[in-house]
C-alpha cells in the first residue's frame, strides 16, 4: 500500500485516496473547436508509461482535494506531490 504525501494533510495511506489518471492531460477549453484526433487523444488515448509519471489522486477520505503525484510506475517510488493549483514542472 502506497504512502502518499497529501500537500494539505501530510503522509497518508493509499486507501484514503482514489486514483485519477494522467495529470498532464489538459482539457480543451469549453467552446473551442477541437479536431476529432485531438478530442480522441483527450478522452481516450493514454500512454501506459513505465517510469516517472505525473498522475492525479483525490484525497477522498481526507480533505477531498485533487493532488498531483509524481510516481514511478515500475517501482512505486513517489518523488513529489503538488497541489492541484501547482504546475507540473
Amino acid at each position: 500500500m502506497l504512502y502518499i504525501k497529501c500537500p494539505y494533510c501530510g503522509m497518508r495511506s493509499q486507501n484514503e485516496f482514489s486514483y485519477g489518471g494522467d495529470a498532464t492531460v489538459k482539457r480543451p477549453e469549453l467552446g473551442t473547436e477541437v479536431s476529432d484526433q485531438d478530442w480522441d487523444n483527450f478522452v481516450y488515448n493514454r500512454k501506459s508509461l513505465r517510469g516517472k509519471h505525473w498522475e492525479l489522486w483525490q484525497h477522498l477520505s481526507g480533505c477531498r482535494q485533487w493532488i498531483k503525484v509524481e510516481r514511478d510506475t515500475a517501482t512505486h517510488e513517489i518523488f513529489k506531490t503538488l497541489k492541484a493549483s501547482e504546475e507540473v514542472s
Binding site: 502506497l2 504512502y3 469549453l30 467552446g31 483527450f42 478522452v43 483525490q58 482535494q65 485533487w66
Partner: protein, 998 residues
C-alpha cells in the same frame, strides 16, 4: 500411550500441566508448551502424512515454519481448519488432528501405488497426460486428482470466530526475536525509538534457546529472557509472539498475522482468533534467521530423516528424543552440536562428516566426548518404509564423485545438516536485489530498495559475537537517525565455540545400479530426476523449471528446497548458482488464514449500512427492506399476507388515486454556493442554467467527457448564489468528486464551493392527486396553490414549528412535492405527514412502487442510465443545449452516436397483456431464427402498470424511434421464456405530462 521418547528433565515445557489430545483417532498425552509435532514425537509417532504426488509415508522434517510435510487437518471447538503445520500448532487440551493427503488412512494409503508407478509420474506428468481428450478433464481427471491429492479440506460452515485488523505505525519494525532481533530492539528502544518486535514462535530467543553460548555471564536463554522482560516494560516497545511478519509491501508497509487464540482450546470471550497488523515502519530490521538445508541422498524423505537443528530443538526445547539410535549426517559443524546434545543425554550418536579432516573447537569437543565420527562418509540411502530402520553409508572420495563399499548400519533417525540458508524472503519481497555469497553457498540481501536492513543469520552472519555487535550498532544508528537521541549501551561479553568452514557438498551420487528417489522439494515431491528431465526437455529459466516441476511452489515456497534445486540446475547447466538466479519470493511467507485477511468485514459488516432518520418508523410499520447501495430502503410495507407484487401494486395504485409518501432521504444532495455557481451548473449540465430564477428548480442531465450519461437530478436555486443539487442515490459520491475535479483542476477560476449535504436533510416525496390538499394542511401558512407554487417551484415553509424546504418536483408523474427538513426532524415530519394525511387515505410506498410509477411514466433511471447510454438513447436529447458548450458535448458528434438507427428507449407490452417480462431479456425479430439470433435491444426495467393493469416494460431498442407499433419477441433463455410483444411509446401514462402541472 506413554511419552516414551520424553527425557526426564530437559526442556522448556510445563511438566505440571499434562494435556490429552487425539491424532488420527488415537489419544496421546503431551505437556503445556509442546507443539503437536513435539508431543507426537514424544509418543514415538513419526508417520504423519503422505506425500503429495507419490503418497510416500512422511514424517517430521523441521521444527517450525520450515516444515514441508507435517501438515494436518485441525479440529478445534467444533470447527475444522486445513493446512496447519504440526510443528507450529501448539498443543492444547482436547486438540484433535488428522493426517491429510491419504485415503483411506495414513497407514494404508491406496495412492501409494503411485510410488510404484513413479516412472509414469515424471515432471510435467499432469501437463502431458491430462490434456486429452478435453472433455475428460471435468468428468474424469479432475475429480480423481482432487480426491487423491489436496492438503486438507476447508470447512463449509460459517466461521464464527472473530478476526481483527489493526493499523500501526512505528520507528522500527523488527521481524524475528533471535539474537539479532533482541539486540537491535534493545539498542533502539533504549535510544527512545518506537519499536515493534515480532516473533513467529511462542517463545522468544530463536537459536539462543538451543545453542550453548554465554552472553554477559548468562546463558543465551537467560539473556534472551532478561532482554524480553525489560523490553516488555518499556512504553515505547510492543513485543509480540505468535506473530509472523509475512509480507513486505510498498513504502515500508508490512503485514503481520498474530495468532491470538490458536493455541487455546477455545477463543476467549470478546477476543479475536487472529489479528492482522498493517504496520507502516520508518525502518525495518529483518532478523528472520536462517533455515538449515538438507543434503540430498537416496530415500531422504523417509520418516525419521530430519534436519539436525530440528532434532536439537526437539531435545532442548521440548525434552524429546527423535530417536535413540541417531545418525548425524553433516557437512559442517552444526551437526556436531546436535550430536553433543544427544551425548549429554546418554544417547550415542554416530556422526558422518563429508569433510576429510575438519579442525575446530566443536569437533574437538565431540571427539573428547568419545562420539563415533566417520570422516569423508556419506549416507547413500535411508532404508525403511514408514520409519528409518538403517542407513546405507559409504566412504566418499576427495573429489566427492566416487563412493566406496556400501555398508549398512542400524539407526532410527538420520539428522541432516547441509549448512544454513538465510531467510531472505522479506528482504526479497521489499525489492532488495539479493546477491550470492560464495562463503555460505546462499543468497543474501544486497542493495536495499526500501528502508530495510537485514541482520545476523538472515544476512549470512552465523557467529554470535559478530551478530550481536552489528545488531546493537544498527539498532543504535537507526534509532539515532529517527529520535536524535544518543544513548548507547555497552556490548556484553560473548562466549561461543568457534566453528570452521563447511563443505560445499550437497548431493550424494547414486551408487551403481541403484535408482533411489532423491528428493529436492519434499512438499511437492520433486526429485533430482524430475529436474533433470525438465532440463533435458529444454526448460532453461529457473522460473520455468519451477512451474514445470513444481519445485519451490505452494505453501512451502522453497524454504528447504530452493538452494539445492539451484545447485542441481547450475551443475547440469555448468553455470554458477548466481547465474541461474533464484525464483521470486512472494508474500505470504507462510500461509495466512482467509479469516485474518477478511477481518471483521464479514456478512453485513462487509460494507457500512446507512439508514434514514425514519428507519425505525419503517420497521415498526412492516417495511420489507432492500439494499440500495449502502442504504437500506423500504421496498414495500407489508399488509397481512401480501407479497411484494401485491403490496407494491396496492401502494402504486394509491399514489395514482389518492396520495402516497415515500422516503427519499437517500437521494444524493450537494450544497453549491458562490457567485459562479450558475456558471458551474451551466458547464456540467447539458441544458441552460444561467437564467434559472431564485425559487425555481430545474431537471438536469450530466455527461461524462465521452458523452455517456453520468447522472440526472434536479437542482434548485435557493437564493442568489446558493443552489441545492440532487443526484441519484447510487451516483452521489461520484458526482461530488466529478464537480470537485472540474473546480479544482480545470476551472480553478470559478468561485464556487460544493459540499455533500445528503445526510443533513431528511426527504419525503408526497405524490398523488390529493397531495396538494395534504400539503395545504401541513403548511397552512404557505401558498401552495398551482399559482403560488407551480410545477418546478420552490418555497420554504413552517411544518408545525419545524423549518422545511418544499420542492414541487415529481418522479412518479403525479402531482407531487418533496419536503425536506433537517435530519433530526425527519421522523417528526414523517409522522405529521402520516397523521394529517389519514383523511386523504395516505399510504407510504416503497422503492418497488416508486419504480412502477416511474417506469409506466417513462422516466429513465439507473437501469437506463447504466453507463452505456447517451442522452438520445434515453429520449433526453431535448435537454441538449445548442447554444453553449458543456462537459461531454463534443463526444456526442461521434459517428456511432449520430447514426440514423441509434438505439432509443421504448415501451414494451406483451401481446397477451398478461405475461410479465423478465428484466434483462433480449428483443428479437424472429424467435425461431438460428443462433446467434440477432439482438435488437434489451429490457431495462419491468413493472405491472397499475394504470393499465397489465405488464409494461422499458427497453433500449435499436432504431427505437421508428419501431413504435412493431411486433417483436422478448427472449429470456435464462427463464426459458419467449413472449410476443408490441413496441409502444415509453410514456405509457399521461404522455403529455399534464398531471404534474395540474
Amino acid at each position: 500411550m506413554s511419552q516414551s521418547f520424553r527425557l526426564g528433565n530437559v526442556g522448556l515445557i510445563n511438566r505440571d500441566k499434562k494435556l490429552s489430545f487425539k491424532f488420527n483417532g488415537v489419544t496421546y498425552n503431551g505437556y503445556e508448551g509442546d507443539t503437536l509435532a513435539s508431543a507426537l514425537l514424544a509418543n514415538g509417532v513419526h508417520l504423519v502424512g503422505r506425500s503429495f504426488k507419490y503418497h510416500r509415508p512422511r514424517g517430521f522434517f523441521g521444527a517450525g515454519v520450515d516444515e514441508p510435510y507435517a501438515i494436518v487437518q485441525l479440529y478445534r471447538n467444533g470447527e475444522t481448519e486445513p493446512n496447519i503445520k504440526a510443528t507450529e500448532q501448539e498443543l492444547f487440551e482436547g486438540l484433535e488432528a488428522t493426517s491429510v493427503n491419504c485415503w483411506p488412512n495414513v497407514n494404508f494409503d491406496i495412492g501409494a501405488i503411485n510410488n510404484f508407478l513413479k516412472i509414469f509420474l515424471p515432471a510435467g506428468f499432469y501437463y502431458k497426460t491430462f490434456m486429452w481428450p478435453k472433455s475428460f478433464w471435468y468428468k474424469v481427471y479432475e475429480p480423481f486428482i482432487r480426491k487423491a491429492a489436496g492438503l486438507g479440506v476447508a470447512s463449509p460452515k460459517h466461521d464464527k470466530e472473530r478476526y481483527e485488523h489493526k493499523y500501526e505505525y512505528c520507528d522500527l519494525l523488527i521481524a524475528g526475536s533471535g539474537p539479532s532481533g533482541l539486540a537491535s530492539a534493545y539498542a533502539a528502544a533504549k535510544n527512545g525509538a518506537r519499536v515493534i518486535l515480532a516473533e513467529d514462535k511462542a517463545r522468544h530467543g530463536g537459536t539462543l534457546l538451543t545453542s550453548d553460548v554465554n552472553i554477559g555471564n548468562q546463558s543465551g536463554k537467560e539473556w534472551a529472557d532478561r532482554i524480553i522482560s525489560e523490553l516488555k516494560e518499556m512504553p515505547n516497545v510492543v513485543v509480540k509472539n505468535r506473530s509472523q511478519v509475512f509480507g513486505y509491501y510498498d513504502h515500508n508497509m508490512l503485514v503481520m498475522s498474530e495468532r491470538i487464540s490458536d493455541h487455546l482450546p477455545k477463543t476467549k470471550k470478546f477476543h479475536p482468533k487472529q489479528r492482522l497488523w498493517y504496520i507502516r515502519a520508518k525502518e525495518v530490521l529483518i532478523s528472520s534467521g536462517s533455515i538449515e538445508r538438507p543434503i540430498v541422498f537416496g530415500n531422504n524423505d523417509t520418516p525419521g530423516v530430519m534436519l539436525s537443528s530440528a532434532a536439537k530443538e526437539y531435545l532442548k526445547v521440548y525434552g524429546v528424543l527423535v530417536g535413540r539410535n541417531p545418525l548425524i549426517f553433516t557437512n559442517n559443524d552444526s551437526g556436531y552440536e546436535t550430536a553433543i546434545e544427544f551425548k549429554k543425554n546418554q544417547i550415542d550418536p554416530i556422526i558422518l562428516d563429508t569433510r576429510k579432516d575438519p579442525q575446530s573447537e566443536i569437533v574437538d569437543e565431540a571427539k573428547n566426548l568419545g562420539i563415533n565420527i566417520k570422516f569423508s562418509y556419506v549416507v547413500v540411502a535411508a532404508q525403511g518404509y514408514k520409519k528409518v530402520k538403517s542407513a546405507d553409508i559409504a566412504k566418499i572420495s576427495d573429489d566427492k564423485e566416487q563412493l566406496g563399499a556400501i555398508e549398512n548400519i542400524k539407526c532410527d533417525c538420520i539428522c541432516v545438516s547441509g549448512f544454513w540458508t538465510p531467510t531472505i524472503h522479506l528482504a526479497s519481497q521489499s525489492g532488495n536485489k539479493t546477491k550470492f555469497n560464495e562463503d555460505i553457498d546462499a543468497f543474501v540481501p544486497g542493495t536495499s530498495k526500501q528502508n530495510e536492513t537485514t541482520l545476523g543469520a538472515a544476512n549470512g552472519s552465523y557467529a554470535l559475537d559478530e551478530t550481536l555487535k552489528s545488531s546493537f550498532e544498527t539498532g543504535y544508528e537507526l534509532s539515532k537517525k529517527i529520535t536524535n537521541n544518543d544513548n548507547k549501551i555497552t556490548l556484553p561479553n560473548v562466549v561461543e565455540k568457534k566453528s570452521t568452514t563447511h563443505d560445499k557438498f550437497w548431493c550424494v551420487p547414486l551408487p551403481d545400479g541403484k535408482n533411489y528417489k532423491r528428493f529436492l522439494d519434499f512438499q511437492n515431491d520433486v526429485a533430482v530426476s524430475d529436474v533433470e528431465i525438465a532440463l533435458k526437455e529444454g526448460y532453461r529459466s529457473i522460473e520455468h523449471v519451477k512451474r514445470y516441476t513444481t519445485l519451490g511452489m505452494a505453501t512451502d515456497q522453497g524454504k528447504t528446497s530452493n538452494l539445492n534445486g539451484l545447485q542441481l540446475v547450475s551443475n547440469i547447466e555448468n553455470k554458477v548458482v548466481p547465474n541461474v538466479g533464484h525464483t521470486t519470493f512472494r508474500p505470504p511467507y507462510t500461509p495466512v488464514s482467509i479469516g485474518a485477511i477478511v477481518g471483521r468485514e464479514v456478512g453485513k459488516h462487509s460494507k457500512p449500512t446507512r439508514k434514514s432518520p425514519m428507519h425505525s418508523w419503517h420497521e415498526k410499520n412492516n417495511a420489507v427492506f432492500v439494499d440500495a447501495g449502502v442504504w437500506l430502503r423500504p421496498r414495500y410495507y407489508k399488509q397481512g399476507n401480501e407479497n411484494l407484487f401485491e403490496g407494491s401494486k396496492r401502494e402504486a395504485k394509491n399514489v395514482r388515486t389518492n396520495v402516497g409518501v415515500c422516503d427519499v432521504t437517500t437521494l444524493g444532495k450537494i450544497d453549491i454556493k458562490g457567485p459562479d455557481a450558475a456558471e458551474l451548473l451551466n458547464r456540467v449540465y447539458t441544458n441552460a442554467w444561467l437564467k434559472l430564477p431564485v425559487g425555481k428548480a430545474r431537471y438536469g442531465v450530466m455527461l461524462r467527457e465521452d458523452g455517456i450519461v453520468m447522472d440526472d437530478g434536479t437542482t434548485t436555486r435557493i437564493s442568489e448564489n446558493h443552489y441545492h443539487m440532487t443526484t441519484t442515490t447510487a451516483q452521489a459520491a461520484n458526482v461530488l468528486s466529478h464537480l470537485e475535479y472540474y473546480l479544482q483542476l480545470v476551472w480553478p477560476e470559478l468561485n464556487v464551493n460544493v459540499v455533500s449535504s445528503t445526510e443533513q436533510w431528511a426527504g419525503a416525496a408526497i405524490a398523488g392527486p390529493k397531495s396538494r390538499d395534504l400539503l395545504q394542511k401541513l403548511f397552512p401558512n404557505s401558498d401552495v396553490s398551482n399559482e403560488g407554487l407551480p410545477f418546478m417551484g420552490y418555497t420554504e415553509g413552517d411544518l408545525f414549528g419545524v423549518k422545511a424546504r418544499i420542492f414541487r418536483i415529481s418522479f412518479s408523474g403525479e402531482l407531487a412535492y418533496e419536503v425536506n427538513v433537517e435530519s433530526d426532524n425527519g421522523n417528526f415530519m414523517w409522522e405529521k405527514i402520516m397523521e394529517v394525511g389519514e383523511e386523504f387515505k395516505i399510504q407510504p410506498y416503497g422503492t418497488e412502487a416508486l419504480s412502477t410509477l416511474r417506469i409506466e411514466m417513462g422516466h429513465v433511471a439507473g437501469s437506463e442510465l447504466d453507463g452505456r447510454t447517451i442522452p438520445y438513447d434515453n429520449s433526453l436529447e431535448g435537454l441538449l443545449s445548442k447554444k453553449k458548450d458543456f462537459i461531454g458535448k463534443r463526444s456526442l458528434t461521434r459517428e456511432a452516436f449520430t447514426s440514423e438507427d441509434r438505439q432509443k428507449v421504448v415501451g414494451v407490452v406483451p401481446l397477451d397483456k398478461k405475461t410479465s417480462i423478465p428484466e434483462g431479456s433480449h428483443l428479437v425479430k424472429d424467435s425461431n431464427a438460428p443462433l446467434p439470433n440477432p439482438k435488437l435491444g434489451y429490457i431495462s426495467a419491468s413493472c405491472w402498470s397499475v394504470e393499465h393493469d397489465n405488464p409494461f416494460s422499458l427497453a433500449i431498442l435499436k432504431n427505437g424511434k421508428n419501431m413504435i407499433g412493431e411486433k417483436l419477441f422478448v427472449m429470456s433463455p435464462l427463464k426459458n421464456k419467449v413472449i410476443p410483444v408490441e413496441i409502444v411509446s415509453s410514456h405509457y401514462v399521461d404522455p403529455k405530462g399534464e398531471r404534474v402541472r395540474s
